[in-house]
């Protein structure tokens, strides 16, 4: 076993390193984080809360409620609901919109919360963060579970509401927004375009 002799410290690299550090200190403290960094921090925080909830062992009834509160805190639910409903949102009254957001949120919490029991003991690691311009920032994570292939879970985060909030979830390339738009569209059609009917139908599934 031979070990490499210690390399002499290169004076120039030390100098430029010191220079870079000095420049870093000159940056204003506020506004140092970019939208991408804020989006990443947001996803790190919400995934900690999400995994804690999944592993909490709470009974299903209270699990859905907790998940719904987590959604409301970390996602821009009124905007997600509007984008899901599409053009009919514009013709809805303020009161209909409010009831639709509430019903949609509860429906989502149950539809996706039902799958939580299969994700116990999983881990989530942020793998890449990409800026998508007007669409926001895509924070890519890998969900790993013992004995299974990793699952790619991408969080689309936007600051349009004033704070970083999740606006779409993309699992293995499958956009939740695209799927729910089709689902809600089918339900609305079954109600012959009645928003009140749709709200009733969503409540029945929540």
């Amino acid at each position: 076993m031979t070990s490499e002799p210690p390399r002499p410290v290169c004076r120039r690299s030390l100098l430029s390193g010191g220079l870079a550090f000095g420049l870093l200190l000159l940056l204003p403290v506020t506004g140092r984080a970019s939208p991408a960094e804020r989006a990443q921090a947001h996803v790190a925080q919400l995934s900690r809360e999400l995994l804690a909830l999944i592993n909490s062992g709470l009974p299903e009834a209270s699990l859905y409620g907790e998940f719904e509160r987590l959604l409301a805190r970390h996602a821009d639910m009124p905007a997600v609901a509007a984008a899901t409903l599409g053009p009919p949102w514009r013709n809805a009254t303020a009161q209909q919109r409010e009831r639709f957001v509430a019903a949609y949120q509860a429906y989502l919490a149950r539809r996706y919360g039902r799958q939580f029991r299969d994700f116990q003991q999983s881990r989530l690691a942020i793998t890449r963060v990409r800026d998508a311009g007007n669409a926001g920032v895509l924070v890519e994570t890998r969900l790993s579970q013992p004995g299974r292939s990793d699952i790619a879970v991408d969080w689309q985060v936007s600051e349009r509401s004033g704070q970083p909030r999740v606006v779409n979830l993309i699992v293995e390339g499958i956009s939740m927004l695209a799927n729910e738009r089709a689902e809600i569209g089918t339900m609305l059609e079954a109600q012959r375009g009645s928003i009140d009917g749709l709200i009733q139908a969503l409540r029945a599934r929540a």
């Binding site: 905007a79 996706y112 029991r117 990409r130 998508a132 669409a135 895509l138 390339g173 089918t186």
Partner: protein, 246 residues
């Protein structure tokens, strides 16, 4: 025997390539609604759903619940390992020598140190699996995916995907080289691998197929998005929508 199979396979390639050139063309390659065969597809989907509800789903769940996870994973590893020679060739045809090399290396390491491929020391050593097939080769060559096609017993696919599936079977070097007994064993292991896949995906499939207002559309949308994301190694940023603008 195996020398005789090759010309037949080439004839098949030519015939299918001609069929592919007649593929239905979607106006928008990112479309999730282009489905010219929808009436027929819906009938086949209803049939597949019955098969899944009565036989395949319960079988897969029984397999998942009775056979321990390490055994199921070992068998799935084994199946995946013996797809690698074919995938090495495909990466070559796609003009991706690094991925071809990685597949070949995986095959050598897992066949020897992984006892024929039951274990996966290659992944532990940092040579991870990246799946490919002829559907991807055709995609790399610029062939469009064509229309959405639901196959009886097979589930969702596209014209290109199903063409690739037939070609994968016909051109897999393992199929041409392995003795019949080996191929039969591989077929059995492949069936168990599919059952394991169905079991692992059970919660997601239950939601998509049985808890949706329109399970047919939900499956089509999910399949098309997942297939396209896989072919480009992740979510396409250009497809992200500005949800505040509609």
């Amino acid at each position: 025997m195996s020398q005789l199979r090759l010309p037949r396979a080439i004839a098949l390639v030519v015939a299918l390539a001609m069929a592919l050139s007649a593929c239905a063309r979607s106006p928008d390659p990112a479309s999730l609604t282009f489905d010219p065969y929808e009436p027929q597809n819906r009938q086949v989907h209803a049939f597949n759903l019955e098969v899944d509800r009565r036989a395949w789903g319960p079988t897969a769940r029984a397999y998942g619940r009775t056979v321990p996870e390490p055994v199921r994973t070992g068998l799935s590893n084994l199946r995946a390992n013996w797809r690698l020679p074919h995938q090495t060739v495909q990466y070559g045809l796609q003009g991706r020598p690094a991925l071809a090399g990685r597949s070949a290396l995986r095959f050598i390491v897992n066949t020897t140190f992984g006892v024929g491929g039951v274990f996966d020391p290659a992944t532990a050593g940092g040579v991870e699996l990246r799946y490919t097939n002829i559907d991807e080769t055709l995609h790399v060559w610029g062939v469009r995916e064509g229309a959405y096609v639901v196959a009886p017993f097979g589930g969702p696919g596209t014209e290109r995907d199903w063409t690739g599936w037939v070609l994968d079977l016909a051109l897999d070097p393992v199929n041409l080289v392995l003795p019949t007994a080996g191929l039969q064993a591989l077929f059995g292991v492949g069936t168990l691998d599919l059952a394991n896949e169905r079991y692992i995906l059970d919660p997601a499939l239950e939601t998509i197929l049985y808890e949706s207002a329109d399970g047919y559309t939900a499956l089509r949308i999910s399949y098309l998005q997942a297939m396209r994301a896989r072919l480009q190694d992740g979510t396409d940023l250009d497809l992200l929508e500005d949800i505040y603008d509609f």
